[in-house]
Symmetry: C2
Subunit: 152 residues, 2 copies
Amino acid sequence: MAHLTSAEAADLLERFRHYLREHRLPVTQQRDLIAHAIFTAPDHLTAAAVHQRLSGQGKRIGIATVYRTLKLLKECGLAFERHFGDGVSRYEVAWADEHHDHLICVECEKIIEFEDEGIEELQHKVAARKGFKLVRHKLELYGVCKDCQERS
Amino acid sequence: MAHLTSAEAADLLERFRHYLREHRLPVTQQRDLIAHAIFTAPDHLTAAAVHQRLSGQGKRIGIATVYRTLKLLKECGLAFERHFGDGVSRYEVAWADEHHDHLICVECEKIIEFEDEGIEELQHKVAARKGFKLVRHKLELYGVCKDCQERS
DNA sequence: TTAGGTGCAAACGTTTTGCAACTTG
DNA sequence: CAAGTTGCAAAACGTTTGCACCTAA
């Protein structure tokens, strides 16, 4: 689950502000709002979804600013950009201690997160065997979820 | 290695033609050329790369036709479409008996293919645990290759 | 002959960029 | 005040589509 408590979200927001100050970049209302949206989202948001969500709250923010801020969040390591093959980028909070991969239903598009120690260990072994120093990985399992199996 | 012998490439081309005839679709020069380009490529090609490669050979083929044919190759299972997170689709021959994942160097962008039985087995276990019937997966390991490690 | 493919150019949806006006520090 | 951000609209990007013409069977 990528859903953070509001205390955790607040902590991440503070870390983002700290990163900005450290780099002598202004902490603006827009940056706060966008970062907050990502930190409190229960799922993976597209830039358009972030924009809509803020518009719905009466905030007038340009889509360009959303992209610019998402890039900052990526750079400082507080958010990840994901691609699930439909040509749209999705963003999610990078929850420090948690590493998870994705299990995606090919019928209803539901996305479930999981972690597996064993797989991670084998990944490191494979990389080592090829002389690579592993820095990150992406694993997506596509299948039919229980609900969709029953439905058919 | 995704590099096929010319006999293997010829065999795949014949399979493609067979698929087309079976579906009462014409076997055109363009389709032959594009399929051949994919089957003989040593690496993952973008649509633009296929187009360039053919243009370089003096063939005047529209980029739209390249996309249309790549879609056909995907549909008949002879090519896979891959996404490595830079917003561009890459295509590679689907070598029937081989299943491989990718190891990508984050510095020189070199792409190495690998297979690992152990990882695949664990993937099936994870999916089963969550009630999913696994149909396919995507695993990409990003790291620094031996050459780039030495270079720095 | 005719179904369907082709190239072109225009349309598309997502992401980026140039710029004048505006905030932040 | 100066540096850097913002919103807008326009551009850029990869990809798809509409259409008149052409090719395979």
